[in-house]
Amino acid sequence: MDDVAIIGVGLHPFGRFPGTSAIEMGAKAARSALADAGITWKDVQFAFAGSYEVDNPDAVVNYLGLTGLPFTDVYNGCATAASALSQAANTIRLGEYDIGMAMGMDKHLPGAFAADPVQYGVPSWYGETGLFLTPKFFAMKIQRYMYDFDITPPTLARVAAKNYRNGARNPNAFRRQELSEEAILQSPMVNDPLTQYMFCSPNEGAAAVVLCRAEIAHRFTAAPIYLKASVVRTRRLGAFEVHSPWVPPERADSPTVDASRAAYEIAGLGPEDVDVVQLQDTDAGAEVIHMAENGFCKDGEQEALLSAGGTEIGGSLPINTDGGLISNGEPIGASGLRQIHELVLQLRRASGDRQVPGTPRVGYSQLYGAPGTAGVAIVST
């Protein structure tokens, strides 16, 4: 039985906005979600907000209204938004409140993330010697995957070109210029085999979602979208993970695989039921790997699926219809709620130029990032 519904989604565009704070962007996204749900901030009984750069994203109440609501801040790496969403949904399931909001906001400096490795449970020398970097982890993961499953560089370029093409149709996206596969392959090599235009960039933006108890959703909308599952998992011993200088001989699936299996089971759905997909494309290789880790194809099938255009908006398995992270960039706290925003628009058939054809019923989103944390959400009409 459906217990939680999404009745409003809102977004502050992703990009770079000098002079606008993360909190101001969060307020704008929240107002947009409230307007979409047809409610006011006073109707929101509780909230969760995620951010990496802002210690207290709940300060958004300074702009939205000091109503005294219970408001909890969360941070969980690249799965921050998934954690905000899961906590908000669970709060409704507990029965204490009927209507709540999950939001995320961030404002990162350009360039790869830099942090203190000690805060991630690895020693200082790991950062001092130039190993504490996420891009080179993703490069090494896809390098091995390409070797194991015969994936070629043109396939990586196809992923990136598709995401730029989709982003060009998305007015909220950061990079809205189409790029050819050739231009992507010939852009400067950053971490072999990944070139500059195969990577997403940390940037700025905010997103918000209004959730309510499913039984009352029809008070607000004739077409609620139900949150069928929202799951967060962390790495198990033996998984090959970011910010980890050691992998034991024993092997384990990635936290994405664990989160995905749990989400399908909770939702009572399988990959064959999914009509539109948002995957963590930190880089083009990550999208390729995540296609298999989330059950949408077998390892190695990506090469043929992509060359046939299968993951395009009109394909059998549309992936990252709003341009994904490659085109939108990654404000960590907001990224996962941007995915939910896009899935809700797609299921409402309100995505304009980038609408997937037919009547999509089930949407799927996945986040993955440091230090080995994954989130998966499944929504349906």
Binding site: A114, S124, T129, G130, K136, M140, R144, V190, P245, W246
Partner: protein, 142 residues
């Protein structure tokens, strides 16, 4: 010769003609970790014994770090124009897979499965001129 120091005490044994990297083995379940730590990530025991890891293995995956990491946490202080890209890989040892810089020319051919051996390389210079050393793996000449 310039004065030299290891980037972290206890990370590897040096000076030595055959340097080795230090890890630890769980006293309860024998699980090996690198770097050495006092608690076991498999069974949670808090008693471990220091060990030295094998100094040869095979390349499991690799990339090249072509942009200068941000300082901090990186301690290289060279201007961006003088940054020297370096290889990075995971080397499969009998005890597990270890992440390391790859020593040698940036354009040298790297292949998954190629034999590798441990070495020690300078990678940065302190303000007083002291060279900072870290462990790395290099392809074994065939």
């Amino acid at each position: 010769m310039k004065p030299q120091r290891c980037v972290a005490q206890g990370l590897f044994e040096w000076p030595s003609d055959e340097p080795t990297v230090s890890g630890s083995r769980c006293d309860s379940c024998s699980f090996v970790t690198f770097p050495a730590q006092d608690a076991c990530p498999r069974c949670g025991a808090v008693a471990t014994t220091p060990i030295q890891l094998a100094r040869t293995g095979t390349l499991w995956t690799w990339t090249r770090q072509r942009f200068q990491p941000k300082n901090p946490p990186y301690i290289g202080t060279e201007p961006a124009s003088e940054f020297q890209p370096y290889g990075v890989g995971f080397i499969e040892l009998p005890e597990g897979r270890i992440e390391a810089r790859i020593a040698g020319d940036i354009d040298q051919e790297l292949r998954i499965g190629m034999p590798m051996e441990l070495t020690v390389v300078p990678f940065a210079t302190d303000a007083d001129g002291t060279e900072v050393l870290t462990y790395a793996f290099r392809p074994i000449e065939s």
